[in-house]
């Protein structure tokens, strides 16, 4: 399928660029997404480069290196921070280049000898402090946000795919198909979503890997969220179908598929685009809420919700936890909202009207 953007749409995109707040939010968010793709190079307890006895190692994306590879006595994964300290002490030619934040999100690293929440410390490179079991908050936040972002993008894609197909079909075909699906959707959307997620997720065996569990969570959430999109698409398709240009296309002899993909869908772009940011926001909020309640991603997966929970439990004694988690959530959701606002404005045919 190829959507040929008509001049109208191009104009709208130009308009979007002109709305600075939304445009820069979009740029920042995209930058975050791109950076998070290469997060292992920035926040990780594996070194970027190790030069050991004349040989270079790049452990970030490779198999693990047991300590014995670098002259330690142990057979488990090398502690590269220790390695760096050792090399510095020995003063030879060996060196280690560590990422900016040399901690993994699951690692308990304490400076006080006790696993507890420690305040931010630049010296220790715990830039946002540690959580209640001495894990680096920045690392957990970063990877938690990454999961939430990609989760919500996946959610968006799936919900849109189902919502648009069903919605358009309802609007375009009309008749019994429309009636039937309206009833199905009415029933389906009355099932309490949160409870269903909780119930389904509580019976999924833990033997599944964490990524499988995330995929299942995604599937369950999509299953109960695709309905809202259909109604918007249905009305929009109905509207477009009645327009003269559709009739004209039909008279010329265009097939249904051609009409849908070449005429109707491009004209409903405004609706689709407008709802995108809100769908993302709702996905991030939902997965955070589920984690907060303890029904989301299995421990020790880093997540915003789990951090928020820890934060609210230690509001007075470790305010930095809730501040980081809450701050991140606010930033991400604000960015997405700004983008949404700008998109809505730029796709609004009534450019100079004001909502009252």
């Amino acid at each position: 399928m190829r959507l040929r953007l008509n001049p109208q749409t191009l104009k709208k995109l130009r308009r979007f660029r002109e709305i600075k707040r939304g445009y820069y939010s979009f740029v920042i968010l995209m930058a975050i997404v791109v950076v998070s793709l290469f997060g292992e190079l920035l926040i990780n307890n594996r070194a970027l480069v190790v030069s050991y006895e004349g040989e270079l190692f790049f452990p970030t994306y490779t198999d693990f290196h047991p300590g014995t590879d670098f002259g330690f006595q142990y057979s488990y994964e090398t502690n590269y921070r220790d390695l760096q300290a050792r090399f510095e002490q020995e003063g030879g030619d060996n060196w280690v280049l560590l990422p900016l934040v040399p901690y993994s999100p699951n690692e308990n690293h304490t400076v006080t000898g006790i696993f507890k929440a420690d305040p931010p410390s630049f010296e220790q490179k715990h830039y946002l402090g540690t959580d209640t079991t001495s894990r680096d908050i920045l690392a957990r936040l970063f990877y938690g946000t990454r999961i939430a972002l990609f989760f919500s993008l996946g959610f968006l894609a799936a919900v849109y795919a189902i919502g648009i197909s069903v919605g358009s079909a309802m609007g375009y075909l009309g008749g019994w198909f429309d009636l039937l699906f309206q009833r199905v959707i009415e029933i389906w959307s009355n099932i309490p979503f949160l409870y269903m997620v909780i119930i389904i997720f509580s019976v999924i065996p833990a033997t599944f890997s964490i990524s499988t569990r995330i995929a299942i969570l995604l599937a369950v959430m999509v299953l109960f969220s695709w309905t809202s999109m259909t109604y918007y698409m249905r009305t929009e398709t109905y509207k477009q179908k009645a327009r003269d240009y559709v009739s004209a296309a039909r008279i010329i002899g265009a097939s249904d598929a051609r009409i849908i993909f070449h005429h109707v869908l491009p004209n409903t772009l405004a609706t689709m685009v407008t709802f995108m940011p809100f769908t993302i926001v709702s996905a991030i909020t939902a997965v955070t809420a589920l984690d907060f309640l303890g029904f989301g991603l299995p421990p020790p997966t880093p997540s915003l919700g789990e951090l928020l929970k820890q934060g609210t439990e230690n509001l007075r004694t470790a305010p930095w936890i809730v501040m980081s988690a809450f701050g991140t959530l606010v930033v991400i959701l604000t960015l997405v909202t700004f983008i949404g606002e700008a998109v809505r404005e730029s796709f609004d045919p009534k450019k100079f009207t004001v909502y009252k």
Binding site: Y76, G113, P300, N314
Partner: protein
């Protein structure tokens, strides 16, 4: 007492039923329950024979078990004991009155004492800490002091305990407590209507006879003259015969929300059950035991108001503003971070902090390995898991060195515990040796060991303790060093309990509540009867067709023919030395089997309480489990007003941080 989960252990007081230490999680769904459902009204009145008539018929049908005798039948050579020399428990300084404010995490699901859902932590308020039994163990001396009994005598030769009942004893509805209520206890607990198989089994097999000599004299006979026969005879709360007039097959529904009359000091009025929100206990007016030596000056508050606060953090905040009187500070996080000694409320003496060291059997926190599962049935894998589990690090860094390593699942039973057996330390080399012996020699790309078939050395660790999830994440990180992967599954408390009862777990992080008794139990958790149906053939070899048995406490699916013989010997043994020797042997065997990774024990409990909560001068009982369980504290309304006023005006009192360590023991 508002306790954190480490201490919220509930169990039936009376010997036997070991329960999972539950941190009963509140499910969201139950939160939406309406305020009052007219369930009891929906149950139609029964037309069949009354509970009493059914009981009479049952006695007549079982004449060997239920005997009606005359006082002349009581042997004359008995040595009667009454525990009168033991020290008082309550303090003469105690003042009566006031309201005790408490919180619970979950609303009780029933007010029944037995049957489905009756083992919630709310039992403590209506049964375990409140109801008076025939006699109770003295919290310092271990000997029995009288409750409903006035004196008792043991006759080892006839395996019988004779008991004289206190004629003063009354149910909370004013009816006298008589020998009939003890007969009814046996009828009741042997009835199938109560849907409590464990009780059916216990009361059906652990006693051979109960006799009534007159309204206030009874005796109970047991199949074996165990060294702790008294426990089996005395730790009973009778069942009120007059209350169960409508006893029948619909017992579970009919009595779901009926408060059972109690022998204790607190009862619940119907109007004080605000479903989903709170329960209020009210003191029985002119309680029969008010002037008894061991019961006076106890249960001092006029009312106990228990509201639902689902979140521990919120509970703590409620305590901090004075809405709750006491709060369990056993977790280091609370003791050091949330309510540190430097906290203004502590420094100004408004809130007092106390640590009490105690001596008693401890809940056996640890990893219970289901040996019925593939790979876990391999001894080397289990040994490896033992060596790869770094409890020492958890204790040192997460629990701040305050807990101690548990060495066996049977610690704290004095000479019955086997001090020679020590838990295996964290040792990566030894762990890898054992894993290698089991075929796991290659480390995969993530450092986890794999065997020749490419199987990963990975197991699911399930737990119902949400607040202890950090413990598991630490263990996971450490185990990875030895090439072992723990997949962590933290479930709601009820769901976790269900899973383990269905034996669906691989490894479970949990604990059983153990209570104050003389020697550990082996049958429940380690006899093959509770692991498989027909575990062994006649000759002692493994039955190839055996099926796993669900709904038992044998979480390790532990089945060993030789061990079974020892458990059987232990069950019938009446000689203490023989039992000690058998216990040691079994503990050693269980250790060698490596199906349990002993975790940690907590040898103290800690509380914070507001200044207006007063405890007796000498308060610190050797065998106590929590500060509130004996109800010796009292409330001084004048001090409460004074404290709150002082807090507003900034006036300070002497800070009080007390450590009671005379019962501290080196483990």
């Amino acid at each position: 007492m508002t306790d954190l989960n480490l201490e919220s252990i509930h169990m039936t007081k009376f010997s036997g039923f070991k329960l999972m230490v539950l941190a009963l999680g509140a499910t969201l769904l139950s939160a939406c329950g309406g305020e009052s459902e007219p369930e009891s009204a929906a149950v139609a009145p029964t037309t069949g024979p009354s509970g009493s008539e059914q009981a009479q018929a049952y006695y007549a049908a079982n004449p060997d078990f239920f005997s009606f005798k005359t006082p002349a039948d009581i042997p004359t050579d008995l040595v009667w004991e009454d525990g009168a020399d033991l020290p008082d428990i309550g303090s003469p300084e105690a003042k009566t009155g006031g309201i005790q404010y408490e919180a619970m995490q979950d609303y009780p699901r029933t007010l029944r004492h037995v049957g489905p859902d009756s083992n919630g932590s709310f039992r403590n308020w209506i049964l375990d800490n409140v109801a008076v039994m025939l006699a109770h163990r003295h919290p310092d001396e271990f000997d029995y002091y009288p409750g409903l009994a006035t004196s008792w005598a043991v006759s080892p030769a006839t395996k019988t305990v004779y008991i004289k009942l206190d004629p003063d004893a009354r149910w909370s509805d004013g009816e006298p407590v008589t020998a009939d209520d003890y007969f009814f206890l046996f009828f009741f607990n042997r009835s199938e209507h109560i849907v409590a198989p464990w009780y059916n089994n216990w009361y059906g097999t652990q006693y051979t006879n109960i006799s009534k000599y007159d309204d206030y004299t009874i005796s109970m006979t047991m199949p074996e003259a165990k060294p702790d026969m008294l426990t089996h005879a005395l730790e009973h709360t009778p069942v009120p015969e007059h209350f169960y007039a409508d006893f029948g097959p619909d017992f579970v529904d009919r009595y779901q929300w009926s408060f059972v009359p109690t022998t204790g000091a607190y009862y619940i009025k119907d109007e004080d059950i605000a479903k989903g929100r709170s329960v209020t206990l009210t003191r029985v007016e002119n309680w029969w035991a008010d002037d008894k030596k061991f019961w006076r000056n106890r249960y001092n508050a006029e009312q106990v108001y228990i509201s639902v606060i689902r979140d521990t953090a919120k509970m703590f905040e409620a305590f901090k503003v004075g809405d709750l009187d006491m709060f369990g500070l056993s977790l280091a996080e609370y003791w050091y971070e949330k309510l540190p000694d430097t906290d203004p409320d502590v420094q100004n003496g408004y809130i007092h902090k106390s640590v009490f060291y105690n001596q008693r059997p401890r809940p056996n926190y640890g990893l219970w390995i289901n040996t019925d599962r593939p790979l876990l049935n391999n001894l080397d894998v289990r040994l490896g898991i033992n060596y790869a589990t770094n409890w020492d690090l958890v204790i040192e860094k997460y629990f701040r060195g305050e807990y101690q390593r548990m060495n066996t699942a049977f610690d704290g039973f004095g000479e019955f515990s086997n001090a020679a057996v020590r838990a295996r330390p964290f040792d990566i080399d030894k762990a890898q040796e054992h894993f290698a012996a089991a075929g796991f020699t290659q480390r995969g790309p993530d450092g986890i060991l794999t065997n020749a078939e490419g199987q990963r050395l990975s197991f699911t660790v399930t737990s119902g303790y949400e607040s202890l999830a950090p413990v598991l994440t630490i263990l996971k990180e450490e185990a990875a060093k030895a090439g072992l992967d723990f997949r962590i599954e933290v479930l709601d408390g009820t769901a976790a309990f269900k899973k383990v009862q269905e034996k669906q777990h691989e490894i479970q992080f949990t604990a059983f509540g153990v209570f104050l008794e003389m020697y550990p139990r082996f049958w429940e958790s380690y006899h093959s009867d509770n692991a498989y149906d027909d575990a062994f053939l006649e000759d002692g070899s493994v039955n190839p067709a055996r099926q796993i048995k669900v709904q038992t406490n044998n979480l390790e699916s532990f089945a060993d023919y030789e061990f079974d013989q020892l458990v059987n010997q232990y069950t019938v043994a009446s000689d203490k030395d023989e039992m000690v020797q058998l216990a040691h042997q079994m503990i050693q065997m269980h250790h060698d089997h490596a199906s349990f990774v002993p975790g940690f024990v907590q040898s103290f409990y800690r509380i914070g309480h507001w200044r207006w909560v007063k405890f007796p001068e000498n308060f610190n009982h050797k065998h106590s489990d929590s500060a509130g369980e004996l109800f010796v504290h009292w409330f001084d309304p004048a001090v409460k007003e004074e404290t709150l006023a002082a807090r507003r005006s900034g006036q300070a009192f002497e800070p009080q941080i007390n450590v009671y360590d005379q019962y501290k023991e080196e483990l």
